[in-house]
Symmetry: C2
Subunit: 148 residues, 2 copies
């Protein structure tokens, strides 16, 4: 049975869910941010079944999140690089990082990992704010509305 598609719904959350709504896709993007370029690097990092990984990479290339470049002619070999659109997907991974860090470890168990700035080594703690005011956004205080 074909799944319901959300990629033409008039809601940005729905369209993004359609793009990343499976368990592997955000992790493939995570590895792209951590420096994976070649199929075997993604495969070694994620231990994903090869067919699953190939399908996810193909979709991400089709969606313009990754670009495929040939780095060897004989035999032909490709690597995957983040596009500008792919780079902007970081915002979603950063939010997942924060939520997971805050809520998906047992009480009293310390999250073993942190994000650090590559240059300064400072710990980075993602938060979602309103770009206009810098204030933290409370989901109970906003509503979706038609653009004027």
């Amino acid at each position: 049975m074909r799944r319901t598609r959300f990629d033409d719904w008039p809601c940005p959350i729905a369209r993004t869910a359609d793009l990343v709504g499976d368990w592997w896709t955000p992790l493939v993007m995570r590895e792209a941010f951590y420096g994976c370029r070649r199929f075997d690097e993604f495969q070694a990092a994620l231990e994903a079944p090869r067919a699953v990984l190939a399908a996810r990479l193909k979709r991400l290339v089709e969606e313009g999140m990754l670009e495929r470049h040939r780095y060897l002619d004989r035999p032909p070999r490709y690597e995957y690089q983040l596009t500008a659109k792919g780079n902007d997907f970081w915002i979603v991974l950063a939010a997942m990082w924060r939520f997971g860090s805050d809520h998906l470890w047992e009480d009293g168990e310390e999250v073993p990992v942190v994000l650090r700035d590559c240059e300064t080594g400072a710990v980075v703690t993602p938060a979602v704010v309103d770009e206009h005011t810098g204030e933290v956004v409370d989901g109970r205080r906003v509503r979706m509305s038609l653009r004027d």
Copy 2:
């Protein structure tokens, strides 16, 4: 075939992907933020197959994102309310909103919806910053590292 589980991986992104990594779950949470409480309200808003919706609500209750309250005894009827943990999931939806708004409409096509503050009516534009510095986080400038 059972899918690979990520809920015990040592990465907050992986654990969150395990929780929300299907197309319906973020949308069910979206509707909870928009005020849906009862099964039929979720169903009417999403037009999700009833069995799919029931399974997603059950998982979200098990995970502590929603709480089920009985609001009618005969016949027994329940409603679903966001928990504190569920409220914190807003950060992920807000990031999806921003990415989708920026990238998932055709060039020249205007996104028909915006987020507004319920009280002031001001447009809210989610951005991810570092909580310590208030600076926008660039995914290429951070790395995952073990906590000291």
